[in-house]
């Protein structure tokens, strides 16, 4: 689904791990491809957003309008004590964070973003004990709105835990 959208030629998109994955910046093992801006965004997410820190989120990679964020399994995230499955709300928080970061990484270099709306589909429970990773891509922007898709995965990458689609505000800085 993501690939099809990414394949539209008028969209400037990078899919995490996709055909243009060479542009992905990784933290902290491959700091070189990261621009000052993406590095700043990554640091911002890890250090400055209290709730991202609270849930143990780490930025794995940032590209042009793409982002990958991980959230390790933790007992405090459990939503079903009988099975140890993490709460859907924690997955939502992860995908919302990742989507916002993808908007901030868009080549139009927005100065701020906020979620306008978000639709989350829960496909299956995340496997207890496994880290959940979200991948988001900001696949289209208008003057003031960014459109984002995201998916949440655990170790079974072929079967997403959840997917999300949302619209975000886009506050543009001064034009280059």
């Amino acid at each position: 689904m993501f690939r099809t959208v990414a394949a539209k030629k008028d969209h400037v998109v990078l899919v995490a791990g996709g055909p243009r994955g060479h542009n992905r910046a990784r933290i902290p093992r491959e700091p070189m491809p990261m621009t000052d801006r993406t590095e700043e965004i990554a640091r911002h997410f890890m250090e400055r957003i209290p709730h991202a820190r609270d849930l143990g989120m780490t930025v794995l990679s940032l590209g042009e309008g793409t982002c990958e964020v991980s959230m390790p399994y933790d007992e405090k995230l459990i939503g079903d004590p009988a099975t140890g499955v993490i709460h859907g709300g924690a997955v939502s928080a992860l995908m919302d964070t990742c989507s916002g970061a993808a908007v901030m990484c868009h080549p139009t270099a927005p100065v701020a973003t906020a979620t306008l709306d978000l639709r989350i589909d829960y496909m299956r429970p995340a496997t207890p004990g496994q880290t959940v990773r979200a991948r988001a891509e900001c696949y289209h922007v208008t003057r003031s709105v960014a459109f984002v898709r995201a998916r949440a995965l655990d170790d079974d990458e072929d079967n997403p835990v959840a997917t999300a689609a949302g619209a975000f505000t886009l506050e543009r800085g001064e034009r280059a």
Binding site: P50, K76, D80, G89, S92, D96, G100, L118, R119, Y122
Partner: protein, 170 residues
């Protein structure tokens, strides 16, 4: 036609409150966010007390959108589970002393959640109430509204769909 004497009000209250506590208190993530439920009869209001760790935008500052999503989803889930439990509580088929958070009826499973962010979440307490739009044998649709200082000015609203758990035996 004879009627048995009504149960003392404290007995009823205690049974309702214990059932609610068993439903909510056993979920680590609800505890972690600090969500509490205020009960008036069968009506529930969810309360999310402000904490610094709930912030998503430190510049404004504003609550994290994911916190608001989790808060509304939790309100919808608990309200739905509560409504299914209500008859059992009222008929005293549930004994509060037997309620064990790890052995509660299975929660409804969230299928999807669509959330509108209407205003930025202020760094203060938030409240939410859910309305069960439709609760069938298999599926349910729930609408939730969240607000902060002013009930007339919601900061977020959401619609959730659920798959209902199979009915308990007996």
């Amino acid at each position: 036609m004879s009627r048995s004497a009504p149960e003392p009000v404290q007995v009823i209250k205690q049974r309702r409150d214990s059932a609610l506590e068993a439903l909510v208190g056993g979920v680590p993530y609800i505890r972690h966010l600090g969500i509490a439920f205020d009960r008036r009869g069968d009506e529930l209001t969810a309360i999310l007390p402000y904490a610094e760790r709930l912030i998503g935008n430190p510049m404004l500052p504003a609550l994290h959108g994911g916190v608001t999503a989790a808060f509304l989803e939790t309100t919808a889930t608990i309200t739905l589970a509560w409504s299914r439990l209500w008859d059992e509580i009222e008929s005293a088929r549930i004994d509060p002393d037997d309620l064990d958070p790890s052995d509660m009826p299975r929660m409804p499973k969230t299928v999807d959640l669509t959330i509108d962010y209407l205003r930025s979440g202020l760094p203060r307490d938030a409240y939410a109430r859910a309305r069960i739009v439709r609760s069938g044998r298999r599926y349910a649709s729930v609408h939730v509204e969240g607000w902060q200082d002013n009930r007339e000015r919601p900061h977020a609203m959401a619609t959730c769909h659920f798959v209902m758990p199979a009915a308990r035996e007996g």
